[in-house]
Symmetry: C2
Subunit: 417 residues, 2 copies
């Protein structure tokens, strides 16, 4: 698997076929006739290409990738058959011609799409187009597309050995960049200056320029670096520490605050290589950290170890989250766990792969058992308003036995002179 | 206007009030009762803050900003009143209590939202929540939200003097970074290495880390740099030149190709300061460019001048686009204009502000007259498969008299030794 060269033109065909087979099994279980894929990352995952268009994946037949632009690029990259999309208004007729068994019975057919990311106005056009293609509107009226996002996220949550290799490649780049930038964690250097250097280091090594996130209105710009009080400021970002940011238009991650002696400096920075993301966090201090913050940092390592001890196939994500809450409570740090007060994030970790916010989430409500092949970033953190955030984050692979750490950074609070 | 300090905590209140007044006038004209804003950039524009939540803007009353997270940050930043969102399932009741005149008649009320960006699954939940709040479903069934995206894009298309000041600040940063990086345009430097340096230069000056785009599946990672044949490769990106990219997972912009002597090098790079984007392109060559490409470059300057000559209030964007097609035809370059063959982009320029792809677009179908205050990036380019792309792009403000160039780079083909 590891003979893959970074930036190679094609994702292995066997890889794509196996993903499609797993999705088709899920479609049959759910009683769905087909899955319409619209989002670029979903298209990449199931076709090997993220050109502009739609892929249709029937439960019982070979899929097709309808491409608006660039057909030529899609043909060079995709592991499934490519067709020019043609006029959008005829797409329904095209689907009916290509998939007569699925499309013939408009009143009964059940087609899902990635509705968690597809904009409502495009969804409506697609629904109308499908309804017009020899079908009938369903009982809800104009919306004939069902929500297939949970199905997609479940299939994508289990990574192949090839995918794990890509995440390890990203981890290697992130670790090199991190080590090269550590000397710049010194008094007077601003968070912004530091991340600019870090981003330069990952970018020239092949970071694609962003870490993709699936959730609406959530964007990460290469993670976050925040020091002292700036790290502890609440933010819209759905994570344990948002950061002060550069102003109302970029209200998270780095600010112009300069690193100072004795404050916790949270370095939560990953990268994205060949589409796959690594996420990891270390806490640094210039000089000495106050005893209570050092102790809280120690509790985050304890929670990480507790989670690693439970990360086996069959364990429930919600149980691991509940156990982390107990650890925080036992340490008397409940109010500080994963943010402070009403700005607390309600999770301990998140799946990661092509997007930063994949499944499973170590949180309440995630009651499907872990499986071997799942990759999860575990990020226990404690927030102290006015003082800072301490924590650690490792990205970890669930295996049949011990979980395998994909992050290649050493553990421990980083003390700088 | 220009006393604003980069990264300041608040957008001027008068600025927000004026935007809201213009949107309310449009709502009344369209017979709409209110506008529900959901996208982070739309929230920033109309409230001054982009925290997680929803803003409701009635046609006839003061707006409210319902915030999930962070309420504290929203209160510090927003120019309109902030309320905690509370439980989402009660949001309909909350709106009914806060806006009884709008909400009382469910069967007749007309509420729009930014459906071009709002994911379908969230739209459905909002629609159900509104329908349950003492209302009735409309004639289409479950979707009671109308599409307000055209209204929003129209309001946002006309910039205030304050906004133009932000775009000029971005132009200044982009020009400094561009000049600092020009010496690295030399044989053997890769596109990736070059953009890494450029991004470092803009980032440390306050670039927020990305240039936001509104369209689904369209992302820009600080523009694109592409040389020779790599620039001319077709891409999914809806622009005249996509670039080879780093692989199927980042199939546009920079590749690992190294700059070579005698080929056109397209440097299409902007930045985003305080949320506002500048976009600009220059063409460089190491040594000498072939005569026919030099001539084609000259035609792009001619087309830019032609467009500038027509950019007055009252002119139609579609006419300017048609005129550019005529210029390309007169030069015998129709097949090469804005991409090659079936991968051609169908526009000459695009509005720009908080997002790279704002209105108006200089394209067919845009038949509403230009107004003073519109800011448009005009980017004539010619693509020669196997050889490269030549072109220029300036961002320009429509004024009552001559258009004002906001890009601060000198014109002309850049010749390097």
């Amino acid at each position: 698997m590891n003979e893959y060269i970074q930036g190679e033109a094609r994702i292995p065909e066997a890889e794509i076929k196996e993903r499609i087979a797993r999705a088709q099994a899920e479609l049959k279980t759910a009683g769905l006739d087909g899955l319409l894929l619209t989002q670029d990352v979903d298209l990449l995952y199931f076709t090997g290409s993220m050109q502009n268009g739609y892929a249709f994946l029937p439960a019982d037949d070979d899929p097709l990738y309808y491409v608006r632009r660039s057909v030529k690029r899609a043909e060079a990259e995709a592991a499934i058959a490519v067709r020019p999309l043609g006029a959008f208004r005829q797409f329904g007729e095209t689907l009916t011609a290509d998939f007569p068994a699925v499309m013939r019975d408009g009143g009964k057919r059940r087609i899902a799409a990635d509705l968690d990311v597809l904009p409502a106005s495009i969804c409506q056009k697609l629904s109308e187009m499908l309804a017009a293609a020899g079908g009938e509107a369903d009982s809800h009226g104009n919306s004939s597309l069902l929500d297939g996002s949970a199905l997609i996220r479940r299939v994508r949550s289990v990574k192949s050995a090839w995918e794990v290799g890509r995440i390890e490649a990203a981890a290697k780049v992130a670790a090199e960049a991190f080590h090269n930038c550590l000397e710049h964690v010194r008094e007077g250097v601003s968070e912004l200056e530091w991340i600019a250097r870090y981003e330069y280091e990952i970018r020239k090594r092949g970071h694609i320029g962003l870490m993709r996130m699936r959730a609406y209105n959530q964007a990460v710009m290469t993670g976050m670096v925040a020091s002292g009080a700036a790290a502890a400021e609440p933010a819209a970002f759905d994570g344990p520490a948002g950061g002060r940011g550069l102003g109302p238009s970029a209200p998270q991650s780095v600010s112009r605050k300069r690193f100072a002696r004795g404050e916790p400096i949270l370095l939560d920075v990953g990268c994205c290589i060949d589409g796959y993301v690594i996420d990891q966090t270390r806490t640094a201090v210039i000089g000495e950290l106050a005893d209570d913050l050092t102790e809280a940092y120690g509790v985050t390592e304890t929670i990480l170890d507790m989670a690693l001890g439970q990360m086996r196939p069959g364990a429930l994500p919600s149980d691991i989250y509940a156990a982390s809450l107990q650890c925080a409570e036992a340490a008397g740090l409940t109010d500080h766990f994963m943010g402070y007060g009403r700005d607390q994030a309600k999770f301990l970790g998140h799946g990661i792969g092509l997007e930063v916010d994949e499944w499973p989430v170590l949180a309440r409500g995630f009651n499907e058992p872990l499986e071997a092949g799942m990759v999860i970033a575990i990020e226990p953190k404690f927030t102290f308003p006015g003082r800072g955030v301490v924590g650690i984050e490792d990205t970890v692979l669930v295996t049949a036995s011990e979980p395998k750490r994909l992050t290649s950074l050493a553990r421990g609070l980083i003390k700088l002179p």
